[in-house]
């Protein structure tokens, strides 16, 4: 049913190498120039609303082999978040396909690693949130039960796990998010601007965690505005400009081109 389902592949040996296979992906948003209300809808029956087509992504194709860390960069509105939402199966592609595979070539388990505390309910305690988050990632109660202690230990939460998430600091929330993402053993991690928050000690901890994930052979796709983070973490950079791939390749080369471009744009 979902577009992440494994499909019949022409060459299983070759395609099993790729964790992410995006081909000719386009996403067009329809922007209706009318606020949503019944009154407007009734008026709209008489008068056609003005509909604008916004092409957030146009004909984007790329593949990511297993174990690679790909950074997606670009200015605001270049389509980075749209791409991430499409990979997370939160948006549907207008055209084109996305295939996400595990290392065995089966359907991949994708874990989105989100901004601080997204996916946690502030009015529930840590334990309940862990079970809930696990269910969101598609794990069963038994699987989650087995991993619970590891998750809590890794997040260095201790007794705090019994308290409401509302009272936690950002560090604890992010550690728990990381811990669940790492310990539920996903094939692909989608990371959205997480690494730029927190103080230096905290950021260092994040880098170590990302390093651990890379060492475990996880495929990581992350979106960032922070080029220093990109330089430090990524194996490859994809530069999106106005919904199209501007450059895709070596970290230093693409970053240099992007920096030159940004400089020329700001003049």
């Amino acid at each position: 049913m979902t577009h992440t389902d494994a499909e019949i592949l022409p060459d299983p040996d070759k395609s099993a190498m790729h964790a992410i296979e995006v081909s000719h992906l386009s996403k067009t948003f329809l922007i209706r120039h009318e606020p949503g209300s019944v009154k407007r809808a009734l008026i709209g029956l008489l008068r056609k609303p003005r509909i604008e087509h916004f092409h957030a992504l146009q004909d984007v194709s790329f593949t990511v082999p297993h174990g690679q860390t790909l950074a997606v960069i670009g200015r605001n509105g270049s389509g980075k978040s749209t791409l991430l939402s499409l990979l997370a199966n939160v948006y549907r592609p207008t055209t084109g396909t996305i295939k996400l595979r595990g290392e065995t070539g089966s359907k991949a388990r994708v874990a989105p690693l989100l901004e601080l505390g997204a996916g946690f309910h502030p009015e529930l305690d840590g334990l309940t949130n862990i079970s809930f988050y696990g269910a969101m990632l598609g794990l069963t109660a038994e699987q989650m039960q087995a991993k619970r202690d590891t998750i809590i230990a890794f997040a260095e939460l201790g007794d705090k796990v019994d308290t409401l998430v509302r009272g936690w600091n950002d560090g604890a929330k992010l550690r728990l998010g990381f811990s669940i993402a790492v310990n539920t053993d996903p094939d692909i991690l989608l990371v959205d601007e997480v690494l730029a928050v927190g103080d230096e000690a905290f950021q260092n901890k994040c880098y170590r965690l990302i390093g651990d994930l890379q060492a475990q052979g996880k495929t990581i796709l992350f979106v960032s505005h922070d080029l220093a983070v990109v330089e430090r973490v990524a194996n490859r950079v994809l530069w999106l400009r106005e919904g199209r791939i501007e450059q895709d390749g070596d970290v230093h080369q693409v970053l240099q081109a992007y920096r030159d471009f940004s400089l020329s744009e700001s003049h």
């Binding site: 049913m1 979902t2 948003f29 922007i31 949503g36 209300s37 019944v38 009154k39 809808a41 916004f54 957030a56 509105g77 749209t82 939402s85 997370a88 199966n89 939160v90 948006y91 549907r92 994708v110 989105p112 989100l114 997204a118 996916g119 309910h121 009015e123 529930l124 309940t128 079970s131 809930f132 269910a135 969101m136 598609g138 069963t140 109660a141």
Partner: protein
Amino acid sequence: MRDEIAEVVRYRYLLQMLVRRELKVRYKNSALGFLWSIVPPLLQVFVYTFVIRGALGAHVPHYSAYLLCGIIPWTFFSTALLDSSQSLIDNYDLIKKFYLPREAIPLARVISNLIHFLLGWVVFFIAFMLVARLKKDGGIPLLPSMIWFPVLTVMEVLLVTGLSLWVAALNVFYDDVKFVIQTLFGLLFFLMPIIYPSDVVRVMSVMRLHPWLFKLYMLNPVAAIIDAYRKIILEPISPSYFNRIYAPGDSLVPSAPIDWGNLGFTFLLCLLAAYTGYRYFNSRKWQFVERP
């Protein structure tokens, strides 16, 4: 639609977690906790009993039992719909970031309200069957027509689920939906046979002149379901008791039996609500979070 249902079944554990979360969050900071699902209907019973008996002077035997038979299904219907209408907005951050079958979100609210609804009936039966019997005033006998209880509950669940999917999806695009249903429910509470039996409407002079008007009135599936609950659980009550000029000893207008034909039609309406609700929800669910 079959694929979509299979996907919800595949995510049943998440649905279970969503329901648990609903139940936990609702009473998170309250001392009475779960009692809050029982206290409001009981307070309603006190107030309406006061209005009908005291202020309007209608002496209806076992009025509180008749009233609760209307309030319990009505509360399920209205609260589930109101809760569902806000469900996608409340969980917007979740559906914007994670994949899940999105119908699970309003469904979780329907199910948590269903649990309160069933709990309400448990309290009702304990109160009226056991306690009233202990008091030796006869109490309320368990009627054989009670076997229809599960059928009525299935009907109401279908209706509530279907309409909840409608309002949940519509409310994402039109903020007015919440206000429309709030206003509508305030009025429907008095228009529907909740604080009085449907027979009171049936014997109104205008309905006697135009019997089709009463048929029209009973085409409302919520009215039909509430009326049926009352008639299968409790012994027939004459509408004359609700007449202010009725005095003990006067002859009583008999109550009408359940209109099974109308109830069958209501069942079809409930199925239609469930089917169209799910169809509409599925046609819109990929647009909920799509913003450039």
